[in-house]
């Protein structure tokens, strides 16, 4: 099973992505997906711009997916991360994991998101009526990693 990674401007269709993951697979009993979306918070977000490090981004996501594949028996793994200008409610990231076993699918998707949050080279800049501001990194994301230490 080769994880499929995309870093793209365009939106994605989660149903299509799940269907493609299932093609020619017979032992998938569980598919877990995570979608991260742009929150429309009280301070009136008008848009969010995602910058990334193109030469590194796909490689880093592939490394994270490979680590997940080594830890859990996955039948399929798909990661899509968007960049560019996004608006409230828009999709940002999609992670899909498929396995014969539901807990493997849950844990692998959760693991991938935790590592993506702290390692994938993306940076968010939020624009509100008061101007644009880089989003601060979240200490909780570093904490979330600790439970995956072997």
């Amino acid at each position: 099973m080769q994880p499929q990674i995309s870093v793209q401007l365009d939106d994605f269709d989660i149903g299509n992505e799940i269907n493609q993951l299932k093609v020619d697979k017979h032992d998938i009993g569980a598919v877990v997906s995570f979608v991260g979306t742009v929150r429309d918070l009280a301070d009136g977000l008008t848009s969010m711009t995602l910058e990334h490090y193109p030469a590194m981004t796909e490689a880093e996501l592939a490394r994270i997916a490979k680590e997940a594949k080594e830890r859990w028996p996955l039948e399929g793994c798909r990661i899509i991360h968007r960049f560019g200008e996004l608006f409230p409610g828009d999709n940002i990231v999609l992670v899909i994991t498929a396995s014969a076993h539901r807990q493997a699918a849950f844990d692998a998707a959760n693991f991938i998101m935790d590592f993506l949050k702290t390692n994938a080279p993306f940076w968010k800049k939020e624009t509100t009526s008061r101007g644009a501001k880089w989003v601060d990194a979240n200490d909780a994301d570093d904490k979330a990693l600790e439970r995956w230490q072997k």
């Binding site: 910058e51 993306f122 880089w134 601060d136």
Partner: protein
């Protein structure tokens, strides 16, 4: 060597990349940072707090003691906020 800056560090320095020749006494990322800080006040300010600056050497996350060579691509950026 190719130096890349991203996000707030890119904005502070005012450019996204620059190509420099590695001085002989620059052996690690930490040495390189000290060298870059001398380029301008903006470089100095952007690279002042190494608690905040993250590093990749040839597109792989690295620490400040990572060795550098003249053919490397070294990137500096703030903690990531994707996902």
């Amino acid at each position: 060597m190719q130096i890349l800056y991203f996000a707030s560090i890119r904005e502070q320095i005012g450019k996204s990349e620059e190509t420099i020749s590695k001085p002989d006494d620059v052996e690690t990322v930490a040495d390189l940072v000290a060298h870059l800080r001398s380029f301008s006040e903006d470089h100095h300010n952007a690279l002042e707090s190494m608690m905040f600056v993250r590093i990749a050497v040839n597109q792989v996350h690295a620490q400040a003691d990572h060795p550098v060579s003249d053919t490397d691509e070294i990137a500096f950026f703030p903690p990531v906020t994707g996902g």
